[in-house]
């Protein structure tokens, strides 16, 4: 798919892919500290805390935000979007091509980061088998990428400074308000991601499936709106 390939080349040629991978490795630093001087929690409990308090509310959304807002946003900003718009290619294919590229960067970045973190944490003295934690975190992170990738892709077609708006959303809504206000928590990606995580970790397949389906449904809705928006977009 040429749009996906082009977008991946842009991500890899620029800083977007590198930043996504570097950010996804930040939890590994905390895991290294834990592995060297473990405190009074098990390795599994450490990973759960790390995932709940740092990865899901802050790092994961930023890792998705960077490529998702760059996919269309960079082309809108530098004026290259007409090269895609002035082609006999449906807007649906353009949106799906960009979205696929976002997922091809973010999901591997997140899973690699989580895998490295888990491997390092498992080096702590007395650490149990952390395989199921990695599986649950990876599944939840992939579901979050599916949701947030679509949301931020749409935002970049609607708001000129989508990266800034996304950052404000992540720090204000997901990280701060979502942590303390029950109402906000219920409509944050954080809540759905943690439901998937809890479901996978606790063998509650129904919980994970329901949350995942909700996330996919919201993502599909966002992509449909993105297609409609792209049909009406005006590029000077």
């Amino acid at each position: 798919m040429p749009v996906t390939t082009l977008t991946l080349r842009q991500f890899i040629g620029g800083r977007t892919a590198r930043l996504a991978f570097v950010l996804s490795l930040i939890p590994a630093l905390f895991a290294a500290i834990y592995a060297v001087r473990p405190w009074d929690v098990t390795a599994g409990e450490f990973l759960i805390d790390l995932f709940r308090e740092l990865i899901v509310p802050t790092l994961l959304p930023i890792v998705v935000l960077l490529p998702a807002t760059a996919a269309f946003g960079d082309e809108l900003e530098d004026g290259t979007l007409p090269y895609l718009l002035m082609k006999p290619v449906s807007r649906l294919r353009l949106v799906l091509g960009k979205y696929t590229a976002v997922l091809l960067v973010t999901v591997p970045a997140l899973i690699v980061g989580l895998a490295v973190t888990t491997v390092i944490a498992s080096r702590a003295p007395g650490a149990e088998d952390l395989g199921r934690y990695l599986l649950a975190m990876s599944g939840a992170a992939a579901a979050a990428a599916v949701l947030l990738g679509a949301v931020f892709l749409l935002v970049s077609l609607v708001i000129p400074r989508a990266l800034l708006a996304g950052m404000i959303y992540i720090f204000a809504w997901e990280s701060l308000l979502g942590r303390f206000l029950p109402g906000v928590r219920a409509i944050s990606s954080r809540d759905y991601t943690l439901r998937v995580f809890d479901g996978l970790l606790g063998d509650d397949g129904a919980l994970a499936l329901n949350a995942s389906l909700t996330m996919v449904a919201i993502a599909v809705g966002c992509l449909i709106v993105a297609v409609l928006r792209l049909r009406r977009i005006q590029v000077d």
Binding site: L6, R9, G14, G79, P82, M86, K87, P88, Q234, D236
Partner: protein
């Protein structure tokens, strides 16, 4: 696409649009087209048609040329009026892009791609049969073969212009829209692009070239659309436009062996309004009746025994037409 946001006065039928010769079919037709951004009017009530061959879209920076090309391309919607390309709406009609190629004014290209990859990408997205061959052919046409494997990020401005033209041409479109294509090109590249544009026009394609550099436009084609302050100031044959400006004095440059004697004889004629002397025995005369003046010059020269080396109308250039229309 019919994009009517506000009621407009009944536009003329396509066959009567300015810019078209009698009976000429409009490939591109704008009828009552305006575009505004909030309080700012970019273009206003444009009515013109563009047929086959090369048409130069001329105007100063900020006149609205790029807005017009973007409207024709369907990249922006008209605030009012009707735009048809090949008798079809363009806005929201992705299929029509098989017939349109645009080399826009944007400087930025996909820096991580090479020139060849960029042209090939356009060929693939255009669903061009045998994209590889089309890519190589078009790169050769713009003479970019030696630089085609270099990243676009390292291209000079002239190289970017040429590769943009290649990308616009790769699917062999019927309509080619070129926004200031000669910007940043050196004289050799310029001559090559001008020859290419003229050849495409001769082949029957509709080529619309915008420029604010008047001497360049004159080299493309005589058919011009002059845009001033977002409005169509003149349309049609450049020399015909100039002919119509009879209320303005014409300038004629004369080189002869006795310029002062010749000037004295000329200034005695009522059709001569002023005389200026230049170097190398040249003088520039202004006349309010260029036809009568052109008949008088050889008669006076013979009578005075003066040898004429050059008699050249100096304000037949597009620059003169343009300055006149802008100041009108």
């Amino acid at each position: 696409m019919t994009e009517t946001a506000m009621p407009v006065a009944a536009p003329p039928p396509a066959s009567d649009l300015p810019g078209l010769a009698a009976g000429e079919e409009a490939v591109i037709a704008l009828r009552g087209v305006s575009k505004w951004y909030g309080e700012v009017v970019a273009v206003s009530d444009l009515n013109f048609g563009i047929g086959s061959g090369v048409t130069a879209l001329l105007g100063p920076n900020g006149a609205g040329k790029s807005t017009i090309l973007n409207l024709i391309s369907g990249l922006i919607a008209a605030s009012s009026g009707v735009i048809d390309v090949l008798d079809r709406p363009v806005r929201g009609n992705t299929r029509i892009y098989r017939d349109i190629g645009l080399a826009g004014e944007q400087e930025h290209l996909y820096g991580s791609l090479t020139g060849r990859e960029f042209v090939r990408l356009n060929a693939i997205l255009q669903k061009t049969p045998d994209a590889e061959r089309a890519t190589e052919r078009t790169i050769a046409v713009v003479d970019m073969g030696s630089a085609a494997d270099r990243p676009l990020g390292g291209y000079s401005k002239g190289m970017r212009q040429r590769i943009k033209v290649a990308a616009a041409l790769v699917h062999d479109p019927r309509i080619l829209l070129l926004d200031e294509p000669l910007n940043g090109t050196d004289p050799v590249q310029r001559a090559s692009l001008v020859a290419l544009i003229r050849r495409l026009g001769d082949e029957g394609k509709t080529v619309v070239v915008s420029s604010h550099v008047l001497s360049e436009v004159e080299r493309f084609e005589r058919n011009v659309l002059v845009i001033v302050n977002g409005k169509l100031a003149a349309a049609g044959d450049f020399y015909a436009i100039r002919e119509r400006m009879d209320e303005r004095d014409h300038m004629v440059r004369i080189r002869c062996n006795h310029p002062r004697q010749f000037a004295a004889a000329l200034v005695a004629e009522p059709v001569t309004t002023s005389i200026r002397f230049g170097g190398d025995g040249r003088l520039t005369a202004e006349t309010n009746d260029v036809r009568r003046f052109s008949l008088l010059v050889p008669v006076i020269a013979q009578r005075e025994g003066i040898r004429l080396f050059e008699v050249q109308p100096v304000d037949e250039s597009l620059a003169s037409v343009f300055s006149y229309l802008v100041g009108k």
